[in-house]
């Protein structure tokens, strides 16, 4: 462990070009996928949590099943769809950061939806009553509901970000872990581990955790500030 910590510090201080590239690809990918998952998942989650309609139960069960979609299966699916012989080959998305983001969005959005839904369904009845009292229309009720959930939205975002930065199964399949292009922290760790260089793997893991800590710290501060 000691050598791993040493290596981690050494790597950071030396500003190793390859490490910086890996970090920047990781940052781009995880920020993009978590933001998109948030933008899609929050409205859907709030809607699912507050509106009562036929088939809601079924949608809920489907969403919960998708939350458990194994990342490697998702990666395999995208690989087959976008591979050189697949139906979407003309988009030439395989082995790019874009398709990694896409695969992650598919994985993370159900989680965001489920998270928001479970919070909102507890909150919704009270807010609806207030809204009725104020004479608000359907859309404005949802807006009011969203406003009440700001804290939870931040938490959902942090969950999405955590999932995306830690994910390895899907991104290694569809991204191919190509050096200087689609190699992210988790795939790099996997590569070094496969080669037997365990302490470098742990060193990278520590750096990953440090980055995660930084992001979580900043967003948590924002969360406290904005949801007072």
């Amino acid at each position: 462990m000691h050598s791993a910590v040493e290596k981690a510090i050494q790597l950071i201080l030396s500003a190793d070009a390859e490490l910086c590239d890996i970090l920047s690809v990781t940052a781009r990918m995880s920020l993009a996928s978590s933001l998109i998952a948030l933008l899609i998942g929050v409205p859907l989650g709030i809607w699912l949590g507050s509106c009562r309609f036929r088939g809601r139960g079924l949608l809920l069960v489907l969403n919960r099943t998708l939350m458990g979609l194994p990342p490697v299966v998702c990666g395999l699916l995208f690989y087959m769809l976008f591979s050189g012989v697949g139906p979407f080959r003309q988009y030439k998305l395989l082995f790019t950061v874009k398709i990694m983001v896409l695969a992650q969005v598919v994985l993370i959005t159900p989680i965001v939806i489920g998270n928001m839904e479970s919070y909102v369904s507890g909150l919704a009845p009270a807010v609806r009553e207030t809204a009725k009292g104020l004479g608000l229309g359907h859309f404005r009720t949802l807006l009011l509901l969203t406003n009440e959930c700001v804290y939870q939205i931040f938490s959902a975002y942090l969950l999405a970000f955590a999932r995306s930065i830690a994910e390895v199964g899907a991104v290694s399949m569809v991204g191919g872990a190509i050096a200087w292009k689609t190699n992210v922290m988790t795939t790099a760790i996997m590569q070094y581990t496969n080669r037997g260089n365990f302490s470098l793997g742990i060193a990278l893991g520590l750096i990953l955790l440090a980055v995660s800590l930084l992001v979580n710290g900043v967003i948590s501060l924002l969360q406290r500030r904005l949801s007072r």
């Binding site: 050494q10 970090l23 050189g84 302490s199």
Partner: protein
């Protein structure tokens, strides 16, 4: 107060990423390896490598230890099929790029570079140029917008040896191409080409290469006569604990060594992943043992035969830990030994 703190942290993050990008020093990833306290690792000494490298008699007579690397360009007219088995047409394959890379790899410059690889770091040749390799002396096309990206599918052994990291930058800077290297076990590397995800492959498993060609996935590159362009080779070596309880080093041939290991039930670590190394290893066991790639075939031997299903580096670490024997390519072993038991 909290707001300023948050802004400061965000600023720190951004600055951090910017300095990383701007510094762009082609700094050593060797830095970690050097920083690693030189732990005295119980490594297999070269004397334990199979006689194929040390004893002259086996070097010449033992073709069974040869490991030849072959480049094959993917044929865009190949009978590609999708997941359902239906034929697929117009699969995008960068033929111009693949041609340029193969031409360059077979040019005298590149062959010399490959032959020299490893001399600086280990004082040993890790690869040898094949006799009669078709040296290419013609024009090599420079990259254009459409042909710039070349997808090369290769094996983990090749990637881990560091040969491509050594050769490709020269090619990329001179001709303007960007080579995207995907590495996986031999079977998966070839499969990637069959799914239309590679423009050319670099593998070292003759039987699988021949099947690839016979299935129509290969094409003949202009300036060469066959689809399979074998250009460099090296040797597999049998490594084991320095005590060598099986007496492998003293055996007359590598097959005898394998028989001795099996007879004495000494721990042997197998790749177990259908890679070129694995295929070679399977061919060296005594036939009556009946060891094949299928798990049932060695179910009776699990007390000594360890099927790891992992990459070469991880398997070497395993052999190191267990004090077992292992078949490896020399390049990976030397890198492993030089780094005190860690690859790269």
């Amino acid at each position: 107060m909290k707001k300023t703190l948050a802004f400061l942290l965000a600023l720190a993050m951004v600055l951090g990423l910017c300095t990383c990008g701007a510094s762009g020093a082609p700094a050593a990833t060797q830095a970690p390896a050097a920083a690693e306290a030189p732990a005295p690792v119980e490594t297999e000494t070269p004397a334990e490598e199979s006689a194929a490298v040390d004893t002259k008699i086996l070097y010449e007579a033992d073709d069974s230890m040869l490991n030849t690397y072959t480049l094959i360009a993917v044929n865009p007219e190949a009978p590609f099929t999708d997941a359902d088995g239906k034929a697929v047409a117009d699969v995008a394959v960068n033929t111009a790029g693949a041609d340029a890379l193969i031409h360059w790899m077979l040019s005298q410059t590149a062959l010399d570079m490959a032959a020299n690889f490893g001399m600086e770091d280990y004082g040993e040749h890790l690869f040898y140029v094949k006799d009669g390799a078709p040296v290419y002396e013609g024009e090599i096309a420079a990259a254009t917008e459409e042909t710039k990206t070349i997808r090369l599918s290769t094996t983990t052994s090749v990637k881990d040896s560091g040969l491509l990291d050594y050769l490709l930058p020269a090619f990329q800077s001179e001709y303007g191409y960007v080579v995207e290297v995907q590495s996986a076990g031999t079977g998966k590397a070839i499969a990637a080409a069959q799914y239309g995800n590679a423009d050319l492959i670099l593998v070292h498993s003759k039987s699988q290469e021949v099947s690839f060609v016979e299935a129509g996935f290969a094409r003949v590159v202009e300036g060469f006569e066959t689809e399979r362009v074998s250009f460099i080779y090296n040797y597999f070596v049998l490594c084991g604990p320095s005590a060598d309880p099986a007496g492998a080093a003293a055996c007359a041939s590598v097959k005898d060594a394998f028989a001795a290991i099996a007879g004495g039930k000494f721990v042997f670590v197998s790749r177990g992943d259908g890679s070129g190394t694995h295929t070679k290893e399977l061919s060296l066991w005594p036939e009556d043992l009946g060891i094949t790639a299928e798990a049932e075939s060695f179910a009776a031997y699990t007390d000594w035969y360890t099927s790891a299903n992992a990459g070469m580096g991880a398997c070497l670490v395993m052999a190191e830990q267990m004090g077992g024997y292992i078949l490896t390519d020399k390049a990976t072993f030397l890198t492993f030994a030089a780094n005190n038991g860690q690859i790269a």
